[in-house]
């Protein structure tokens, strides 16, 4: 099986879906001639032409709205944001138009659109350009929110997102584009709403998604080597709809859980997961559910402070030790 990057996996998904369905088109800043700020759309302009790979001005609200309009009349747009930090300008279109249209038209007007781009912190992009908006979009009924961690999942989930009849917020990461992984040649999809157990274990469940899957994997390795603790890693892959069954199944097995996420703690994804766990797995818990999140501050520019503010394997290990009563 070929090993390719996350970036190329997304590129394959776009290319295959555009070949498969003439209604699919890509629109955003620098997606065409420049072939994408992160080269996700490399080669697509040559392959599909200007009608289907559309360079836009720096007008997030505008092109998000144009995309939604296109979806209303039957096209299947993929809107690329150079980063989700810029998409704050378009959030009115995403939340008020894309997420509501099916509901407010009495089910007459589906909006099959994908908004995609990198989110969260990269390296020293400072407070305004390092934000994880996962929980913001996950809050909204009418949206689906997807956040793949591996090239395999990125390709399979983007294909499913494009084929979905609902607006999908697709969260990538600058720090993940170069990540490599095995991706089979040819057609496959990964269904939305299904978590994936990335590592089987018996002692503690690490719930994570996107970038924090790597954090959890490193923590799991350290826990196994240093403490003999077998962590189970549940990669959510889709935030909304959330695969609560997978989480509860794992917690029922391990009796302990740490939720790792890139965003801020307050009203974060982890807060919602903890709520499900206390509701559905109460009698399985042998310890409180802990969360490892970004620090509750704007992301610092200073390199060391930035590192300290982000979720790290060390903090996950520390949390696990606490709830396995090793300390």
């Amino acid at each position: 099986m070929p090993t390719i990057t996350y970036r190329d996996a997304l590129n394959q998904a776009l290319k295959e879906e555009m070949e498969r369905d003439a209604n699919v088109f890509l629109m955003g800043e620098e997606v065409g001639v420049y072939q994408g700020a992160y080269k996700v759309s490399r080669g697509l302009l040559d392959a599909f032409g200007e009608d289907r790979v559309v360079d836009t001005p720096i007008t997030e609200l505008g092109f998000a709205g144009v995309g939604i309009g296109a979806a209303m009349v039957g096209l299947r747009p993929v809107i690329e944001f150079m980063t989700w930090n810029f998409a704050l300008l378009a959030i009115d279109q995403i939340v008020n138009s894309a997420a509501k249209m099916l509901y407010m038209s009495g089910g007459q007007i589906p909006i099959p659109i994908v908004f995609r781009g990198p989110g969260g912190a990269a390296l020293q992009l400072a407070a305004q350009h390092s934000q994880a908006f996962d929980s913001w979009y996950a809050h909204v009924p009418g949206l689906k929110v997807v956040a793949p961690a591996t090239p395999y999942d990125a390709k399979g989930l983007l294909k499913s997102a494009i084929r979905d009849e609902n607006p999908v917020v697709f969260l990538e990461g600058e720090m993940m584009y170069n990540a490599k992984g095995e991706v089979p040649e040819g057609e496959y999809t990964v269904p939305l709403g299904e978590a994936d157990v990335k590592l089987e274990g018996s002692d503690v469940t690490l719930v994570c998604h996107a970038k924090t899957v790597t954090v959890a994997q490193r923590a799991a390795q350290q826990l196994a080597e240093e403490c003999g603790i077998a962590a189970e890693i549940v990669d959510l892959r889709t935030i909304r709809p959330l695969d609560t069954d997978a989480i509860i199944r794992s917690v029922a097995k391990t009796n302990r859980c740490v939720v790792v996420e890139e965003g801020w703690p307050f009203c974060g994804i982890g807060a919602q997961i903890v709520d499900y766990i206390q509701l559905y797995a109460f009698d399985h818990l042998d310890a409180p559910v802990l969360r490892v999140t970004q620090a509750d501050v704007p992301i610092p520019y200073n390199k060391r402070l930035e590192k300290a503010a982000k979720p790290s394997p060390e903090r996950v290990v520390e949390a696990v030790k606490q709830i396995t009563y090793l300390d």
Binding site: N255, F282, D283, H284, L285, D286, A287, Y325
Partner: protein, 414 residues
């Protein structure tokens, strides 16, 4: 930081307690662990310990008051600390109840499953002689569930989590670990046997028929001539403790149980726990009922030790000074009403134990011996058996051993 002093559950079944005496007075300094007061529970007079240090700033209950478990009865704080807020809340509700509701669930967790009249600590009760945790038990939800499923009383488990929280591993080690601290170095004090299909069927069918503990009864009349002689001779030894019939019966039963471990067992719902050690629960009548202090490792003790220890336990039982671990964890019970001239009676099993021996009076009775009517000292004993554990023939064989030993007391030294 101010520490509220709560009326704690000092016995497994305690719902309220009476302040017998404050051993610390208001404005007196206290250290963590100091005895603050003597509290009369439903079973005994117990010590209420300080859970913080500083000064006993205020007490809300006076001597003689009976207050519910969970009620705030005092405040420990630094001498100059402002405790106005606590005083206000306690004053407002006249004895603030613990708001966290833990007093309730904890009772629920151990309530209906442990129907034993005395051994309320449940099967795993204080068999270990483990100190009872007092007041609110902190336990993870999983630990609570497991404790309920396995009928372990959370209050006898030492929690190893933060702040003494009882967590899964604590319940598991309480169920499986070596729990008999008095045990001689012979390995585990018991052996758990899974239920065979026939045992399951017997258990199910008989429980349906006669109640949760399906009793049956075996009565035997024992010739006590030689035991009486032996007792008299022992009691002629100067400066030795007086030996009673009951002491000899305890000794004999303990020895017999070692020979018949199938009668020295606990019914545990999905398995049977057979003990290698013999802990005899001895029913002692006290003013308001009865209690069963436990003579631990009775099979290892001499008659003198049994006599001395039994007397001491009975005395403290009557004074209501037994600690919970002293009246739980028995493996077999003896109830003797001989001193009331009762010829014979049937006793009710003290679950999870599987048997109890009801002992009648030693009396002169006419008997036929080798074809001739003669008068001899005779005693009737009736063994109540839990049929889920003990079958008729099993109990009969045990009783036969008891009879033979009492009729030939030299057997005690075998």
């Amino acid at each position: 930081m101010a520490t509220k002093v709560y009326m704690e559950a000092l016995s497994p079944t305690m719902e309220e307690g009476r302040i017998v005496k404050w051993l610390k007075q208001e404005e007196e300094p206290v250290m963590d662990g100091d005895v603050l007061a003597e509290v009369e529970t439903d079973k005994a007079i117990m010590e209420l310990q300080a859970r913080g240090e500083g000064t006993l700033r205020k007490v809300f209950a006076t001597e003689g008051d009976t207050v519910e478990v969970g009620t705030v009865i005092g405040v420990i704080a630094a001498a100059d600390e402002d405790i106005g807020e606590i005083l206000a809340t306690v004053g407002a509700t006249e004895g603030e109840r613990r708001a966290d509701g833990d007093v309730g669930p904890e009772r629920a967790a151990s309530g209906p499953d442990t129907a034993a009249p005395v051994a309320v600590a449940g099967p795993h009760g204080a068999a270990a002689g483990a100190p009872m945790q007092r007041g609110r038990v902190k336990a993870s939800p999983l630990a609570r569930r497991l404790a309920k499923e396995r009928q372990v009383d959370l209050r006898v488990i030492q929690g190893t989590g933060p702040g003494g929280r009882v967590v899964r591993r604590d319940v598991e080690s309480a169920v499986s670990g070596p729990r008999h601290v008095h045990a001689p170095a012979t390995g585990a004090g018991y052996e758990d046997a899974p239920l065979s299909q026939i045992r399951k069927t017997i258990a199910n069918r008989l429980s349906q028929s006669i109640g949760p503990v399906p009793h049956f009864f075996l009565t035997s009349e024992i010739d006590m001539e030689r035991t009486a002689e032996a007792r008299d001779e022992l009691n002629n030894v100067p400066d030795a403790p007086r030996i009673s019939y009951n002491d000899i019966i305890i000794k004999v039963v303990a020895q017999a149980l070692r020979q018949h471990p199938e009668c020295n067992a606990w019914w545990q719902d999905n398995y049977i726990r057979y003990f290698n050690e013999v802990h005899i629960s001895v029913a002692v009548s006290v003013e308001e009922g009865l209690i069963t202090p436990v003579l631990r490792n009775a099979h290892l003790k001499s008659l003198r030790e049994i006599a001395a220890e039994g007397r001491e336990l009975a005395q403290r039982a009557r004074e209501r000074k037994l600690k919970p671990e002293e009246y739980t964890g028995g493996t077999f019970s003896i109830s003797n009403l001989g001193m009331f001239d009762v010829d014979q009676f049937t006793a009710v099993i003290n679950p999870p134990e599987a048997g109890i021996l009801a002992v009648g009076s030693v009396a002169d009775r006419p008997v036929a011996v080798e074809g001739t009517m003669t008068v001899r000292k005779r005693m009737r004993v009736t063994m109540s058996c839990d049929h889920r554990v003990i079958d008729g023939a099993t109990g009969a064989r045990f009783l036969q051993t008891v009879k033979r030993m009492l009729e030939n007391p030299l057997a005690i030294v075998w």
